[in-house]
Symmetry: C2
Subunit: 462 residues, 2 copies
């Protein structure tokens, strides 16, 4: 049983999306709704987010249909009328989508996605949209911190074995590649996205031979052009000495040792000792990769302490975004049938209405401030971040290729104030609310408060 | 593009599994290897693990083949010989597996899985085994804590929107159901596993109507037998008063309001106020569900503080195991070609050899101590936890159904010492190492130390 083959987008859904849809259907509510997808707050130590996952989401929305098997399952629940089930059989998304592009940097309360569609269609995609955007975005945001901490040294994703499932493993490889990793150990991600793959040997390989040197020799026979040795199965220093011996034997055949990996112990100390042994052995150029419990903080420490590392293999802590394994992401209705709407629930702010994010730059081209405004406003000097991605159910552009997303991210990151790139950010980026948005929001909140909480009639002038 | 359909088990693999395999192939290494899968340490606040994911893993191993598309991708990497690629085309798992059953409680260093197979086969499944077992096990272990904290009140999984991907969402629904949740909001998990599904309405539903009461009336029309109202869109207390009005109207038609949900604010205070309003309105029996940022600690606080809650809807923090989003899980070779093997890497202990976990009970039937021993040992008074699941590539039993796993877990949990069930455990369960295992481990470690680190020759007497 391959459980993953059974994951169909139309059922990546909470039951309530469909009970609400069934009620809208019964009531004949076919008005257009707009939903905003945004993150409410920074997780610890974060001062920006890197958007990822959007192209995949938009593709899935445009292709979403309810298979007969899915409809049969829903029918079996005994909750839905046959008319509504027939509606689902004919479902396809006919709405419009404005979205930020992948690789963009964004901040809390900025919508990265606004969906405008008949209310049932806009509602049904909620769970899917949240799941897909949150995962890749927290992973890209985490991986960007690792890239920043490595200060030019290479990084590779080794997280698949301990990500939260296979979907997360594939997305971790993609998200980390988008922000500058060199590649991944993950073959599935390599195949699906064409990401370069890395990897050589495990401790089990070394222990399967009677002697460590036998293992090194066998590996060099199998991969003479790409011999990378794991040194710490028994003792890193002894391993390094054997690596020098092997490199000398390889040199006699006109080959060279490509690299070594250290996976345990005091990495700063050991990497320097290993480099010293390699210098003395005449192979100073052999690449040193380190792995094992790395994250952006550990990488920064090692770089600061002068570790001799060419390549960081980053696994679990990046792959699960260990210090921020989720974020407060929300998909909220902000307009229905031309009427701005909002909820008042305490402590959970949603900005009303269709919106746009306008980005302002200083005269050096650095990001200065964002303006969260109504979509109908215009600020010619600023860059609007939400772009039309789908119009009346039709995609208006093909998905970005990974290379162009990498370049977009690099451009964004280089224009982000330094204070927001630090691992312990010293300030947050200013996001200003436009006067028109603020006053619309105030008016609707007051109206709702009077009508629904205090029970007074208000003449609606939406 | 449905990316999930492209997830094939044979490529849920790090590249190094295949580079090692290619070298074994080239060297003609066809000896049998045994690998142990175990967790090294407790994450914070944990004193036990609940095993989940095993049946799915074993099924996938037994069915694993390399598709032509997967082989073509591997060929495109330019790393593998055509002989090795042909070997992969004919791959199927011919080994044996001993494993604990799902729902079992286990402790660090206890193997939950031992795979004995030709070394290439045993090696190739490493990444898949780690990913599948870790995810469902950390989720089941987290969810069990929520069930414990709820002291008999019902729980439902609402996590799909913020799990780390769709695979994690499906596994969160299954894992939480295995340890006693009533069901899930997740339709995909409902369809795949037959788990009961729950869910009613979101804030967007309420705001899409001009007035909250219109929304409540419409929902009661659509789902007269299962009317559950979300109360906090504008104000929980006003919402509760409207719920009483609706319940009175429904009563006039011989129907009754099923329940309400609170999603924000001071839940202890609000749930008590709502119950009071319901008592005064003559509907004391209406179920109160709460949701929003719940985990086992929050649930315990609410129960202790006398919150009036019938049902907890637990989302993100359970679904990502937020306080312990990964664990130190490992899959290590412990024997090759009849020779016990181990690595010496500092701080990462692996017990050598094929093993068995023997569980001892006191005279009241409570778990007293586990004994980690060699598989060849025998302790007739204790229960051996590793059972044969596959023999020479053939499954020896069908997968457990979910109900029997639920019952197994319930039995295990009730026999676990109270100190290990607490949210802040006061002690750890004793796991003793058998004398034979300890002395074999000492002997091999010493031999490796002498041979590989100090460079002396030792006469092997494996």
């Amino acid at each position: 049983m391959n459980v993953w083959e059974q994951y169909t987008p139309e059922l990546v859904t909470d039951l309530y999306e469909l009970t609400m849809a069934a009620s809208y259907f019964q009531e004949g509510m076919i008005g257009e709704a707009t939903f905003s997808l945004f993150i409410r707050e920074y997780p610890p130590d974060r001062a920006c987010f890197v958007l990822a996952g959007m192209d995949h989401l938009i593709q899935m929305i445009s292709e979403m249909r309810f298979s007969e098997a899915s409809v049969a399952y829903l029918a079996s629940l005994g909750k839905f009328s046959s008319e509504f089930l027939d509606y689902l059989r004919g479902f396809n998304f006919t709405g419009s989508i404005r979205a930020m592009r992948e690789g963009r940097i964004f901040f809390p309360h900025e919508p990265v996605l606004e969906v405008t569609a008949p209310i049932i269609e806009a509602q049904i995609i909620e769970t899917l949209a949240l799941n897909v955007i949150q995962l890749e975005t927290i992973l890209a945001s985490k991986a960007a911190r690792c890239v920043h901490a490595a200060r030019g040294r290479g990084l590779v994703d080794f997280s698949l074995r301990r990500t939260q499932g296979v979907d997360a493993g594939v997305k971790a490889a993609r998200a980390s590649y988008l922000v500058g990793f060199l590649g991944t150990s993950n073959l599935l991600a390599g195949k699906i996205f064409g990401i370069p793959v890395f990897g050589t040997m495990a401790h089990s390989y070394v222990t399967s031979f009677e002697h460590e040197m036998d293992a090194f020799l066998a590996f060099a026979r199998a991969f003479p052009e790409n011999t990378v040795l794991l040194l710490d199965t028994y003792d890193t220093i002894s391993g390094a000495e054997k690596a020098v011996q092997l490199a000398q034997m390889m040199a006699a055949q006109g080959r060279s040792l490509r690299g070594v990996r250290l996976d345990s112990g005091d990495m700063v100390h050991l990497s320097r000792r290993v480099r010293q042994i390699f210098r003395e052995g005449g192979i100073p150029e052999v690449k040193i990769m380190v792995s094992g419990n790395l994250d952006e903080f550990r990488i920064q420490e090692m770089v600061d302490a002068g570790a001799e590392v060419d390549l960081f293999a980053v696994g679990t802590r990046m792959g699960v975004s260990a210090d921020a394994p989720f974020c407060d992401i929300a998909y909220k209705m902000v307009e229905y049938a031309g009427r701005p709407v909002l909820k008042l629930s305490s402590g959970k702010k949603t900005w009303v209405g269709r919106k746009q994010v306008f980005r302002c730059f200083d005269n050096k081209g650095m990001m200065k401030e964002d303006l969260l405004a109504l979509a109908s406003e215009s600020y010619p000097e600023a860059e609007p971040l939400l772009e039309v991605a789908m119009e009346k159910g039709r995609l208006v552009r093909p998905p970005d290729n990974l290379q162009s997303i990498r370049e977009r991210f690099e451009g964004e990151w280089s224009r982000l104030p330094l204070s927001c790139r630090e691992l312990k950010p010293s300030s947050h980026f200013p996001v200003r609310i436009s006067h028109l948005l603020q006053s619309l929001d105030d008016r609707i909140a007051e109206e709702r408060e009077l009508e629904e909480v205090k029970g007074k009639k208000v003449s609606s002038s939406g």
